[in-house]
C-alpha cells in the first residue's frame, strides 16, 4: 500500500478510467472528487454502485466525465440532481441506465472472474431495450421456455471510496458496507481516502477484522479528514443538509454551480 497525497491519488485516474463509486450512504470520497476536479482530468467513466448523488453531479458539472452508468442520480429529498439532469437533456454525456441489482451482480461477476451473470427481472423494460451489451437468453436448466437476462461483468479500473480508517498495510475498515468490498474485489485496484491512518493492524482483532477490506486490494490510501463532506460518514458525522441544500439551489444554473464549485475547491462551504 502506498500512502499518497490526495492530488497524487487523484492523478491515478486518467482519461478513460472506469471508476466505481458508492452510493451516498456508503462512504463517498468527496475529498478525492475535489482533487479530481482540481486536476482538470477529462473523459472519466463512472459506474455508480448502484446510485450517486452530489458526487456524480459535481463530476458531471465540472466536465470530468465522458460516460456514466447508473441506477439513479438524485439529491434525495432535495430533488433532482441538477447537473445530471441538465446533461441528460443536453445530450452532453453518455448515460447508461441500469438497475441497482444489475450493478451489484455484474460487479460480482468480475469478483468471481466469470464473463457474465444471469439475473431475473429486467425483461420487458426499456432499460433492457437500451442495453445492447445485455443479452436476453434462455435458462439452459429449465424444462420449457424461461427467458433470462445475462449481464456482462463490470470490471472497474478503480474502486474509489472513503472510509473511517485504514492501517499501514492498507487494510480498510468498511463495517457493514460490504458493497465496498465487492467494488474493490471487482476493480483492478482500489484508491481509498480515510479519516485517519491507524498504526495497529485492523486484522489483529477478530471482531474488527470482520468489517475489514484487506490491503491486498488497496493500491493507495490518502488521509482526508471529513473526506465525505458535505455527505456524512457512518457514525462519525452526519450529512451536512444545509450545504447540500445550498448545492441543490446553486447548481440549478451553470453559473451557480461554478460559484459553488469554486468554494468547494477551496474546501469551503458555500455559506462561508
Amino acid at each position: 500500500m502506498e500512502l499518497l497525497s490526495l492530488d497524487k491519488l487523484a492523478a491515478r485516474m486518467t482519461p478513460g478510467s472506469l471508476i466505481a463509486i458508492p452510493a451516498d450512504y456508503s462512504g463517498v470520497s468527496m475529498a478525492a472528487t475535489r482533487a479530481l476536479v482540481a486536476s482538470g482530468v477529462r473523459g472519466l467513466r463512472i459506474i455508480c454502485v448502484p446510485t450517486s448523488g452530489i458526487q456524480a453531479d459535481v463530476l458531471i458539472g465540472a466536465g470530468c466525465l465522458a460516460e456514466l452508468e447508473t441506477s439513479a442520480v438524485t439529491l434525495g429529498e432535495l430533488g433532482l440532481a441538477p447537473r445530471f439532469t441538465a446533461a441528460a437533456k443536453a445530450g452532453s454525456l453518455t448515460i447508461r441506465d441500469t438497475t441497482c441489482p444489475a450493478v451489484h451482480a455484474a460487479l460480482q461477476a468480475s469478483e468471481k472472474g466469470i464473463p457474465f451473470i444471469p439475473l431475473r427481472g429486467l425483461i420487458g423494460t426499456d432499460i433492457l431495450r437500451q442495453r445492447a451489451d445485455w443479452k436476453l437468453a434462455e435458462n439452459p436448466f429449465a424444462d420449457g421456455a424461461d427467458p433470462i437476462v445475462y449481464l456482462p461483468a463490470i470490471k472497474p479500473d478503480v474502486a474509489l471510496f472513503h472510509a473511517t480508517k485504514a492501517d499501514r498495510d492498507g487494510n480498510v475498515w468498511i463495517g457493514r458496507r460490504r458493497e465496498l468490498a465487492t467494488m474493490a474485489h471487482a476493480a483492478v485496484r482500489s484508491l481509498v481516502t480515510v479519516e485517519e491512518i491507524v498504526d495497529v493492524s485492523l486484522l489483529a482483532d477478530e471482531t474488527l477484522a470482520a468489517g475489514v477490506l484487506p490491503g491486498l486490494y488497496v493500491e493507495a490510501v490518502a488521509e482526508a479528514p471529513r473526506g465525505a463532506w458535505p455527505l456524512g460518514l457512518q457514525d462519525l458525522y452526519p450529512t451536512d443538509d444545509a450545504e447540500l441544500a445550498r448545492y441543490a439551489e446553486a447548481a440549478r444554473t451553470e453559473a451557480g454551480f461554478r460559484a459553488w464549485l469554486d468554494r468547494f475547491l477551496d474546501g469551503r462551504s458555500a455559506a462561508a
Binding site: 450512504y25 438524485t74 441497482c100 420449457g144
Partner: protein
C-alpha cells in the same frame, strides 16, 4: 405537509400490509416506513420491517445487494415503488421522457424497480401527486412493466396504487386498475378528471377509511418516535416528535 392526508395515507398503506411477514422500505419513504412500523407495533412485532436508511430497523449486513438477493430468495413480501409516470397497465417510469441521448425530461433513474417489481409478491405503488401528468395513458419509458407475458419468471407485481386522492386496486389478468376507494373530499368524478389513464370503477365507491382511534394514537405515540430515528424532519413536522 397535510397532516390529515398523511395520516390517512399511512393508514391506507398499513392496511395493504396486512398478512405480510416481511416488508422492505426503500430510501426516502417516510410514509410507507411509518405505515410499516405502525403494523409492526400493532401486531406485536409479527411484521418484520427492513427499512433502508434506518439503523434500528435495518438488519442487513451483506451490503447493498442484500435487499435484492433477499427479494429473489422470496423473503420479502411487500415493497413500495413510485414513478415519474404510472400508466393504466401499472407500467412505471422512473427514468425519463423522450429518448436518450437528449431526454425531454429526466428523472433520477430506475433504482431497483426493474427487478423488485418482478420479484416482490405485493408491490404497492405509491405516488402522492395524482394528476394527469403523473397518471398517464402510457408511460414514455418502461422502467418496469406492470405485468409480464406468460413464461416470464415473475412471482411479483403490483397490488395497489395509492395516491393523494384515492386507492386503486390492480387486476393483473385484465392489466387494469380499479378504483377501490376515494379519499375524503374526492369523488369518483374528481378522480376520473385527474387521472390520465382509463380504469374500472364500481357503481358505488367507498370513502377511504381513516385509521381507527387506537391505531392513530399508536401512530402519534410510539411509531412517531420510531420513525423519527430515520426521518427526523418528517416526524418533527408531522408529529412534533424527536427520535424515541
Amino acid at each position: 405537509m397535510d397532516k390529515a392526508l398523511t395520516e390517512l395515507l399511512i393508514g391506507v398503506i398499513a392496511r395493504q400490509l396486512e398478512g405480510c411477514r416481511t416488508v422492505a422500505i426503500g430510501a426516502s419513504s417516510p410514509i410507507p416506513g411509518a405505515a410499516a412500523l405502525l403494523v409492526r407495533a400493532r401486531t406485536g412485532g409479527a411484521l418484520r420491517v427492513l427499512m433502508l436508511g434506518s439503523r434500528k430497523h435495518n438488519a442487513f449486513t451483506d451490503g447493498g445487494r442484500e435487499l435484492f438477493d433477499c427479494a429473489a430468495q422470496g423473503r420479502i413480501d411487500a415493497f413500495f415503488l413510485g414513478g415519474g409516470q404510472i400508466d393504466g397497465a401499472a407500467n412505471i417510469n422512473l427514468v425519463g421522457i423522450g429518448e436518450p441521448p437528449r431526454w425531454q425530461q429526466r428523472f433520477p433513474g430506475s433504482f431497483g424497480s426493474a427487478y423488485l417489481y418482478f420479484l416482490v409478491p405485493k408491490v404497492i405503488l405509491f405516488r402522492e401527486e395524482h394528476t394527469p401528468r403523473v397518471l398517464v395513458p402510457q408511460v414514455d419509458f418502461v422502467s418496469s412493466p406492470g405485468t409480464s407475458e406468460a413464461g416470464i419468471y415473475r412471482p411479483g407485481g403490483p397490488q395497489a396504487l395509492v395516491t393523494g386522492r384515492c386507492v386503486f386496486g390492480f387486476d393483473a389478468p385484465r392489466r387494469r386498475f380499479h378504483l377501490a376507494s376515494v379519499h375524503p373530499g374526492e369523488t369518483p368524478a374528481s378522480i376520473r378528471a385527474q387521472t390520465g389513464f382509463d380504469y374500472d370503477a364500481p357503481a358505488s365507491v367507498p370513502i377511504t377509511e381513516s385509521l381507527p382511534p387506537a391505531d392513530l394514537a399508536l401512530l402519534r405515540g410510539r411509531v412517531a418516535g420510531e420513525i423519527a430515528e430515520t426521518y427526523p424532519r418528517f416526524a418533527a413536522t408531522l408529529f412534533g416528535r424527536e427520535a424515541a
